[in-house]
Point group: C2
Chain length 508, copies 2
């Protein structure tokens, strides 16, 4: 029913040379008719644009964004994806976790420090508003006088987003899942990957870069081909057989002085085979921290949580779930509930660290739905403890089908310790973890029928969502929430209140 | 662009015989796909239905409606149209006036007494959600042992609503105005009007009943025609030339034992001529209070406010306005702002009681836009004072065009003292007011290039909206707000808080 198309936006990056300091933005968010692919539909815009303005800052800057909601009847919240929100957990922008939504007519001020250079995103974190167009780029430059460990002459940012002709309301009502994995393919030009999710990586050369929802990469491209023509840049979907419904995203790599709109003499290349997992797994495994920039993980963890990614039916509805529990958000945000001791507003019984029958669970079989349930319970982590998460993929409700899920952690980067195919072996697989030079990321894919192991230190006081970044999968329950050191969180700003049981709270 | 259709729903009224008491409803409000006219679109439903359940009660009953918002990202508020909310002004359901909107996931409890028998409505009062399907009927029966001043054998309710194929978001974004006046025409059967807006009227016999948005009527129909066939019931638009875009609403009047779906042997009748105002004005004037049920108005008023209905452009946008002021709602509801002395959240400078140049204003000329502005200022009325309102219609921004506006007052019924064509003459027209047997209503039309005079006593402590009931006209600024005796309003329930500056208020 819903027809999706891919589209590309090139943002010309302007280097700024101002001193580190405060960067203030005022954003009006509203609905406007837009036709990015010549199909007119309502989009959520920021100051009249989708994607919204690029936040361009320098490491250490304080970002202040005053967001005014002009959506008439609809609330919103904006997440700063990849920003750890150290000492500002209430600015994470996750509705139901760290704040009440911003009501129509209200202005909410996000204030946070961008403490690391790199390429990040911002996007709506409420319902499925991201797909209505509410997203943009954050680019954090190095401090003056500090050089990147690679050089280049020109700099372009490309941001990819799903774009549907159906409205997010129609999508939400239909509970439809969506194509979600994107591939970029610059014909004839190799790409050298040098940064991922804000961390330098040991340079690797690829022809196709597999990008999963919520990830950011920096790549170097050498303009060394036949200069009399232009070249295609394409994005294609893998993971779903979407050629019939989703046209590729096309852009032109312009060799000056050719006209920038001069069509390349060849057809745009087809993407990789949609269901060939091997090259995707190989790319995941190949990405390591760059020498000289390695942050070594703690050698051992205090706790390991195995999250089985499954699909279930609950009351006849299709749901995604973790350990057969489909996540629902409470109406009183966790951060406020925990600080104000509102114990009754969410389920206090913690979810399991692994499925009770994990050792006998058949990840290749169609999901047995008997125990599926929904819950808003959360994991409470010991402050400063080291936590391992093993994401375990499995078959869905369809025979011979397992999907890719890019998981995104708020408030943290994590080390990616390893990937595997088949079921995770708690005895032997940890022995193969890469503890020498693992990449740190905030978003990582778990491949079909495979597992991904990651580690982080629970050292950022707050409440943090961890969820599949495919918007409809999270909407359908594929996520968990971690609490750590909430008692160390400072006085909450009253601005984040106003929903659920926080509505009539004393001004703090 | 937007195509609208008319549709009819027949609700079978079931007489209940329970004692007056408490009637409790639990409503889940959400988006669902519906196809009432075979075009599938998202509708806002109550417990799975649009229109929502009929509230059937007896005079004196307390109605408790627990509304749970399941709209994902969208707020809501429900107005109980025709219920005066005496001693419960916070239950009027007018977002921005009497309450904060109900957030997704929240449950809000409306509690009010239905103190008079009659036929009323309920509907969304936030953005344009009414047109998304959020509305229904309220029927209040007489106390046991009290008879209506007319008799009938069977009882049916029909509720009419605009229904568009475009979403309310698309409509709101386009700021499009809509067809709004409805006519019902039962061929071969006259109708005897016996009740309007909850008040008995001196019976009048009509072939076509002109109904304006927000009005309710009870009519008697004698089933005295040739019984071997069925008959058409049709609804048509007048006031706009809409035959090309809006098909008539059709229903069948079934003469038992003919099959109820047997098509009548004639074509459905065409409606009255769309731009013939005379019969509409004649019907308005003909409706009087029923003998024996007359409530006599105070003979004189303490204050007269003349509201010139105009159209303007402000910053390039089309707006409707009153005395060249286009109304906007504040983000902190008036009722709370006034009780809590938040003087800065809305414009404290009162709007004028009449346009300063009203005596020379040319109601037949295209609007002169020079002084158009927008404001959220309100009229503050002396408690228990008698107030006259003169609605004065005028030409719009289009040559030779003046539209019909049905104005609806919250918290009150008013006496309809008179109608006139042309400009109101403050010297002579009041002498012709009907003070003997004027009908009381909560909604009244002002006809093209005409005026309508009404009177009410400001005796209901609270803050009350008064506005054109065409949803897009109010959305575009055609309304005012009255405050009266707000100091007598009791302690506000904390449940109505949670938006604007009420967000972090002390638990009262």
């Amino acid at each position: 029913m819903s027809r999706s198309i891919a589209w590309l936006l090139c943002v010309f990056a302007v280097m700024v040379s101002a001193e580190a300091g405060v960067r203030r933005y005022r954003w009006d968010v509203k609905y406007e008719f837009k036709s990015p692919d010549c199909y007119k539909k309502l989009a959520i815009t920021i100051n009249g644009k989708t994607p919204g303005p690029t936040i361009l800052a320098r490491q250490g800057d304080t970002i202040i964004v005053e967001v005014t909601n002009r959506l008439v009847t609809e609330n919103l919240a904006i997440h700063w994806h990849g920003i750890r929100q150290i000492r500002s957990p209430w600015s994470d922008g996750t509705e139901g976790v760290t704040q009440c939504p911003i009501l129509p007519g209200d202005t909410f001020t996000y204030r946070f420090i961008v403490d690391r250079p790199g390429t990040y995103l911002y996007h709506a974190h409420y319902g499925m508003q991201r797909e209505a167009g509410l997203y943009g780029s954050i680019r954090v430059l190095l401090p003056d006088g500090v050089a990147e460990p690679f050089t280049y002459d020109h700099d372009r940012s490309i941001i990819l987003n799903d774009w549907y002709h159906a409205s997010t309301y129609e999508q939400a009502a239909g509970l439809s899942s969506i194509p979600f994995v994107w591939v970029e393919e610059p014909q004839g030009h190799n790409m050298t990957v040098v940064e991922a999710d804000g961390h330098y990586v040991e340079p690797i050369v690829v022809q196709n870069l597999f990008i999963y929802s919520g990830e950011t990469y920096s790549v170097l491209i050498k303009i060394d081909q036949e200069p009399s023509r232009n070249y295609w840049i394409t994005s294609n979907i893998v993971g779903r057989n979407a050629t019939a419904t989703t046209p590729p995203g096309l852009a032109i790599l312009n060799y000056y002085p050719n006209h920038p709109k001069r069509v390349p003499p060849t057809d745009p290349p087809a993407g990789p085979i949609w269901n060939d997992i091997a090259p995707r797994l190989a790319q995941s495994v190949a990405i390591k921290a760059r020498q000289g920039y390695v942050h070594t993980p703690p050698p051992k963890s205090d706790r390991a949580i195995v999250l089985l990614n499954t699909q279930n039916k609950i009351d006849g509805y299709n749901r995604w779930s973790v350990n057969n529990v489909s996540f629902t958000l409470p109406h009183t945000p966790y951060l406020i509930a925990l600080k104000e001791n509102l114990h009754h507003v969410f389920d206090q019984h913690p979810p399991p660290d692994r499925l009770h029958d994990f050792t006998t669970y058949d990840i290749y079989g169609v999901v047995n739905n008997t125990n599926a349930t929904s819950s808003n319970a959360i994991y409470r982590l010991k402050f400063n403890s080291t936590v391992d998460i093993i994401l375990q993929n499995a078959n869905t409700m369809t025979v011979n089908n397992s999907e890719t899920h890019p998981w995104h952690l708020h408030g943290h980067d994590f080390w990616v310790l390893g990937y595997g195919t088949g079921k995770f072996d708690a005895e032997n697989d940890p022995k193969k973890y890469n503890l020498a030079n693992p990449i740190m990321k905030n978003t990582v894919a778990v491949h079909p029928y495979g597992w991904t192991a990651l580690r982080f230190v629970a050292d950022n006081p707050g409440v943090w969502a961890f969820h599949c970044h495919i918007e409809s999968h999270f909407y359908m329950g594929m996520g968990v929430v971690f609490e750590e050191g909430v008692e160390k969180v400072g006085k909450l700003p009253s601005e984040i209140m106003g929903c659920g049981e926080t509505k009539a709270f004393k001004r703090p």
